[in-house]
Amino acid sequence: MSWIALARERPAGSLWPGGRPLVLGFALPALLLVVWQVICLARWLPPYILPSPVAVVERFATELADGRFGQDVWASLSRVLKGFFFGSAAGLAFGLLLGLSRWADRLLGPLFMAYRQIALFAWVPLLSMWFGGGETGKVAFVTLSAFAPVVVNTWRAIRAIPDPLNELGAVLTFNRLDHVSLIALPGALPGIATGLRSAMIYAWLATVGAELFLDIAPGMGGRLNEGRDKFEVDLMLVALVVLTGLGLLFSQAAALIERRLVRWRTR
């Protein structure tokens, strides 16, 4: 499972590198928009199949004017944040356990690796059977999606701490707690940050999935389903654009937080 490639893409965190590329980079999207509008103006495709960009923007404006829209965005946001919080907290704890204890690594490591092979979305029916298709089921799914990336990255990062550092701890007769707080956590911080970042990306993916697959409820994914049921392509496009925008916002925010977290190392 890896939508992580995207997370790796812009470690610097800026979407648009400044200067000339900016102008050139806008040329293609602008061209596509013009072609799209022309196709619609020339009525090559009926508007119910492909609404024009202008129509999509208009729909966006009506949705914004309607109060429901804010609620939908908020519903999706609170789901992704809750799931991310629970999932990454549990993932951090489990990753620390696997990284710090050789016995935990040997006893639980293989089981965890096997668990990771199951496709994320295969959990949807199971979770909906255990937690229902409502809010609990959705948040449970998002939690599950955020869990694994944090575990893997934390586990690996702690394993990768250079031996001399661990030996230093032994020489200074650190106890377990000191070892965790003074060596393991700071040493593994970059890896943990990477884990949190990909957890954020997965959590968002899972939120969209949960809203599409589980019971209909307020949320942007729900609006996408609504658009499909009512055959309103403009609504679907608006929902998709908002989903993409929010996802972009998350990955940018996560990249920012990651840089903050590891800044002391590079200084």
Binding site: S2, P21, P110, F213
Partner: protein, 266 residues
């Protein structure tokens, strides 16, 4: 954590069979707990069917041939989608990796489109392509396309300048330089891209089949859920895990093969 002291027992579990045995302890324990829980009826069948029932479902679907046909359908979808997505992605990735101009032109649009959640595309793809094969293959292809482009672009772009210069000095024509110098140098990131693309293809196949299908492993899950046959749901989830494991393992093996020359050179 303290490096020096290691018991003999500890030593024994560092080798391969010891590790395998240790790794099996917890799963076996969990299996026993599951069995006993089901036996004593501590949890209703609707929440956790007994392992016997799951095994029975597995055996039944295997005997009737349903399991094989549906697995084959799902695997074919993944194969077709991945082949299309990876092939197009490889070409675009190489072009973007080689040409700065192409990057400047296409990168912003590509990165923006790459952010569109593939699942969100499913409802749109259904409207555009219907619920049949074309929709699933298209969505799977899209999901595998993105990581391939990202990794190949990065990998080709990272090929050291000196290698390009070497090809120039040896007056290789561009095609020869690409296939004999640039591509081999970028094998590890290309492979990472292919592996991530295949993983995405697999994930997306399950999602697309859950969303709308009449055949395939995802459909078996949906059907099991609708019929309240949770033993079947669990059985198919297990199959998904095993097949995923097999696919990943095979790919790791191929990768090690392909990269062997690098180890020898070092």
């Amino acid at each position: 954590m303290s490096g020096g002291r290691r018991g003999t027992l500890d030593e024994a579990f560092r080798s391969w069979p010891g590790r395998a045995i240790l790794g099996l302890i917890v799963p076996v324990l969990l299996g026993v707990v599951w069995f006993v829980t089901a036996q004593k009826g501590w949890l209703p069948e609707q929440l956790l069917p007994s392992p016997v029932a799951v095994w029975q479902a597995l055996a039944d679907t295997a005997a009737s041939g349903d399991l094989w046909t549906n697995s084959l359908i799902s695997l074919t979808r993944v194969g077709e989608g991945f082949a299309i997505g990876a092939a197009v992605g490889l070409i675009l990735g190489v072009v973007l990796g080689l040409s700065r101009r192409a990057r400047e032109l296409v990168d912003p649009l590509f990165l923006l489109l790459a952010q569109v959640p593939p699942l969100g595309l499913i409802p749109l793809a259904i409207l555009a392509l219907g619920v049949d094969e074309a929709m699933k293959v298209a969505v799977i292809a899209w999901a595998s396309f993105i990581p391939v482009v990202l990794n190949v672009k990065q990998g080709i772009g990272d090929v050291p300048r000196s290698l390009h210069e070497l090809a120039e000095v040896l007056t290789f024509d561009p095609w020869y330089a690409l296939t004999r110098v640039v591509l081999p140098a970028a094998v590890p990131p290309i492979f990472t891209g292919l592996r991530e693309g295949l993983a995405n293809a697999w994930q997306t196949m399950v999602a697309a089949e859950l969303f709308a299908s009449t055949e395939g492993l995802g459909y078996m899950i949906t059907l099991g859920r609708q019929l309240f046959q949770f033993d079947m749901v669990l059985a198919v989830v297990l199959v998904l895990g095993v097949v995923g494991l097999a696919v990943n393992g095979t790919l790791a093996l191929v990768e090690r093969r392909l990269l062997r020359w690098q180890g020898q050179a070092a």
